[in-house]
Amino acid sequence: MTDAALLEVRALTKTFGGVTAVDDCSFSVRAGTVVGLIGPNGAGKSTTIDLVSGFGRADRGSVRFDGEEVVNRAPHRISRLGLIRTFQAPREWGSLTVRDNVLLGMRAFGRESIVRNLFAARRVRREENADRLRAEEILEQFSLAHLRYDRAETLSGGQKRLVEFARVAAAEPRLVILDEPMGGVNPVLGERMSQAIKHFVTRGSTVVIVEHNMRFIEETCDEVVVMDLGHVIAQGHYSTLRDDERVVSAYLGSVDDG
């Protein structure tokens, strides 16, 4: 491996009661790549990204983000390092407008202090105006401009997906983890999502995608990590893994099983 790993997961383990959902899971993600995380239902993909992003506590193991140990840190602290994740169902801020959803993606936390908003309101407004211009660009890019003042909860499922992506674009993350972005998305919209993901990469982001849509994975990802029963069973290019016996049996069930 020539490039430095942006994300390095080592021996990550998580047990729920008697079930080991993630079992000694290790993989790495090089900067600037798009990596697919695949595996059958119950393989531990979602739990793994929960642990990586701080939404679950690991029993053991290590998660290094750009060389820094982040395992079991609070999610907002991990996020502030530049690791942004999405959820399986879009989690829009429903009562807020689409534009506010995008503005909240921008990581300008200093501006949200009570004290600054009361005593340095003018400066806050100046900074805010600059970001509104950027928000407008992002809204245009995702064809959401005409919906900018609509409350996010009034949008359709597909539009909510776009808001989710626009929010991520606004955050300009170093690493973005997309949890099943193609769930319930029509082919036209899917095409736009692929483009958006490529756009993330050109803007300097690294992308991890959890997805069941294999064609989408094949077209989008540079590399694939395959999980089954909490382990990583293979990591490599999609074309080489497609014929890998372990991968095939994990997905289709081995012929010997009985």
Binding site: S53, G54, F55, A74, P75, H76, S79, R80, I84, R85, T86, F87, A89, R91, E92, W93, G94, S95, L96, T97, R99, D100, L103, L104, G105, R107, A108, F109, R111, E112, S113, I114, N117, L118, A121, V124, E128, Y149, D150, R151, E153, T154, R167, A171
Partner: protein, 348 residues
Amino acid sequence: MSYWISILTEACIFSIMALGLNVIWGWAGDFDLALYGYVALGVYLTIVMTTGPALSPTQYILGWHLPYVLAVLLAVVIVLPIAAIVGAVALRNLREIYFAITTLGVISVLYVIVQIYTPLFNGFNGIAGLVTPMAGPLHISYSNYAYFLLALCAVVLLIVVVVLQRLSSSPYGRAIRSIRDNEQAAAAFGRSVFRSKLTAYVLGAGLAALGGTLFAAYLGAFNPSAWAPQEILTLYAAVLVGGRGNVRGVVAGTFIVYIGFIELTRYLPNVGGNAEFGPSVRQILIGGLIVVMLKFRPQGIFPDRHGVPRSARRTQGTSGATGGGWRDRLPLLAGRASGGRPEQDVIS
């Protein structure tokens, strides 16, 4: 005339308390039931810090002779860390009904302590003696005092509204609402959910205490029969009627609920010679109002439209929620209604 002066004074004071509730529940989405405890502490602390030492057999703590304004500031400052401790425990991991039950426990314990432990605030008999504060130094005659107090409460309310309005429309207002709408997404985008909720809780409790200090000047005396944990429900009705989250709407809602209901039940006869008949009917009507609002207009008369510029408002409907049954639209307890998640439900 003096009747209307006192009604308006009360409405101003309750508006400040309702605005405190609006910060905690309207913005941060936490169904707090302890708020009236902070009001009561504000009242008690103001009285014990201004009326001098207790004369036997009365007993209470402090017994200072501070000027009223100083007592107001100190009372609020004392309530803040108390609310911070309650919030730190209740907001760490508890949400919705679990948070509500915890805060109900807090105020129930406080209520019993105040009643039973006489050395604190003289127990059941309560404390009295705060007569026309600030009248002396400002040379206000007794006959004009009611007007002065109304003006004072109105000015304080105005300042509170201006400050909260500024916060409401600021990036702070946006961030705290995002935590209410979906706290996991808020955390995923770098917001510290616990810290933000705790800050909002302490701010709201401080406003409740501030309302209490003015209430002390209005009442002059206070005892456990003058307040009860369930007073909070009237404040919830006020926020709900006005428009949850909307600062000016909440003030309007408070005036509607307090003045409307007091006026409506004012001329009721004392059925069976029972003086409690009118006030009891009032409570029933307020309960009915909460149900009716939740069913037909959960977003309130003046819905909160954060982030929508004035120019864009006319083109949109006033409806704050679309589709779904009313249960999906505004669960009292949940942070926010969206997508009809079945596990979120109102108290039924």
